[in-house]
Assembly symmetry: C2
Homo-oligomer: 367 residues x 2
């Protein structure tokens, strides 16, 4: 096999083209070799649950822009390039804008990020700027930004493709994470925990599991266990949240774009939706880093927070006791902890200074 | 194959155990599924070089702690655990402390980071803290911290294992990146560009290439092209640098621990050592993000800065014209751009605010 053949076989479009009907032979493949993220076994969560349960963490923070968004963006930007777009546009403060900017750069397309003036946290936009996005502030709120994004996309003469979550190609790419989990475990897991904000990911994972189950590549379907942040839990409460608030900014959504998809995934899979407090989410984030050596952004830790709530028997959580002995459980970690260093910095301890002597160090270590 | 078998086959010890003689059947494998990082083709660098050259970027920033250090740390911490250590210690402000902390957490070992008081940039230590390291400031300079680390390691009763670069197991793990490149290209590249600071990585890559060449797994050996930062270029100048200074903090080293290894790699491979200015390094970093959609920390970009210098015919650089038509060139990107967001933030532009109207956005985009 030639070098080119092997290299081409990386990235989710190359690996899963047969399962992405939107990708045709004429579609240019805009890829950064996303996907193929590790499924890391968690001995400590497994032991905590007992009864032979095996817990795995799908570490999506090891995608090229350090979040799961890359899976969808490779498909969305490839389709934009195929359609002859000159630029992509989104309204996003975080992971979506980073992924859009990176793939647009790769495709030689422009990228524009629209945001409400006065609400722009520069730290969150470091990646968008690094990848060369043009950030434009508008006089208005986030809904105004989204409305403008739609208007720009509907204008066929603008040459602008919308890559916000209304872009249907993104879910196509995101479903490939389910394929990887099935490949690695040799079967779908019993339960799949994941954070739920805009609900695109739970919709996409469920679609991926269903498709490969229908093809016989998995012998069963998992129960989907969605976890929202308590301050941004519209699906959990079954009502819009006007002013969503949570430390897990990546899931701070009051009116999820894929609400229907989430509802279907929960109903069809016999799943559950739960809500974890910010304290529970931050605890899960710190626990993962200190106990398993895995640093994930706060929103990511919502999946593990949900598992810990279920284990603790929190009333609305997933009934773990109903699972068989030796159940396999996957928790998705959607983004890397380095995405949100401010949160981690907030908890930095005082550092003690000692004399440069071995005995002093040993004493300080014990203290 | 059972699920456990497949999962175990991830991480560099699992994949390359046969080539890691220090790993015995009794060694506990402490892994975060590091390695298997993407080798991303760079169409734009390839086109720039012309003559059919193919340039690939080995994106080591997609290791679990976002730098190549994880490859060595999985071996070093596994050996520490095998030896019964209670804790690991290092003197490091950056990537080494992050990797040490993560693998120690995974192994249930303590981790200690020693640093000179008054020189501690908290932003660089976010990961060490997140993974639960104890950071101790000492009255003294970095050399004092290194001396103390050695003293702690030499005290057999302390139960402390040193994981600074004097730990020989780290190079064993780091050499596995060469194996992956050979596997993916089907052959060793013609030239291998990489940043050189402490010189452990150039030593390890060269060792890996030599070992697999000797086994017949590669038909040739690459020429090693090391790139130092101009303000921290002891190997380039062949003299100690008392006060190294560069924006590329990960290679800000005046007295490399693996100087001899670097010298041997350069001599034996027919390679070259070059020095790139901070301006050239930052230009390469920005270029990579904006043109290829790949965000790497400044030190990482030194490899590409070296390639661009060679292309421009900078006097001391690698003679690209001596390469055959269709040469393959690998540049290593040692860490992710999110490792050093302060550098990127320094260049953030002003953001323009416009009215929330489509025409205004289109006008702002053109501007």
């Amino acid at each position: 096999m030639s070098a080119a053949t092997i290299l081409h076989d990386r990235g989710v479009i190359a690996r899963y083209r047969a399962f992405l009907p939107c990708i045709g032979p004429q579609t240019p493949v805009i890829s950064l070799n996303e996907g193929s993220t590790p499924l890391i076994h968690s001995p400590k969560l497994s032991a905590l649950l007992g009864r032979g349960a095996q817990v795995y963490l799908k570490y999506e923070g090891l995608n090229p822009t350090c979040s799961f968004k890359d899976r969808g963006m490779t498909v969305a930007v490839s389709k934009a390039a195929e359609a002859g777009a000159q630029a992509v546009v989104c309204a996003s403060t975080g992971n979506t804008s980073a992924a859009a900017a990176a793939y647009a750069a790769r495709a030689r397309l422009g990228s524009i990020v629209l945001l409400p003036a006065g609400k722009i946290a520069l730290g969150k936009l470091v990646q968008a700027f690094a990848y060369g996005s043009k950030v434009i502030a508008i006089e208005g709120n986030f809904d105004d930004a989204l409305r403008l994004v739609r208007e720009l996309g509907e204008d066929r003469t603008s040459g602008i493709a919308v890559v916000n979550s209304i872009n249907p190609f993104r879910l196509e790419g995101q479903k490939t994470a389910s394929f990887e989990i099935i490949e690695e475990l040799g079967e779908a897991p019993d339960v799949h925990f994941l954070p739920v904000g805009n609900a695109g990911n739970i919709t996409a994972y469920w679609q991926g599991y269903r498709e490969w189950h229908a093809l016989g590549k998995a012998g069963r379907l998992p129960r989907m266990a969605g976890v929202q942040a308590a301050g941004a839990a519209p699906i959990f409460h079954d009502r819009l949240v006007e002013a969503p608030e949570t430390v897990a900014t990546a899931i701070r959504i009051g009116n999820p774009a894929s609400w229907d998809g989430a509802r279907a995934a929960l109903r069809e899979s016999g799943g559950h939706i739960d809500a974890a407090t910010d304290a529970e989410i931050l605890h899960a984030q710190a626990w993962l880093a200190r106990e398993e050596g895995i640093f994930a952004e706060p929103a990511s830790a919502a999946s593990v927070a949900g598992l810990l709530r279920a284990h603790a028997g929190a009333s609305t959580a997933f009934p773990l006791a109903s699972l068989p002995e030796g159940a396999s459980i996957v928790c998705v970690l959607t983004g890397h902890g380095l995405k949100d260093p401010e949160i981690a910095k907030a908890g930095l301890p005082e550092i003690r200074t000692v004399r440069a002597e071995k005995a002093e160090i040993l004493r300080a270590m014990g203290a």
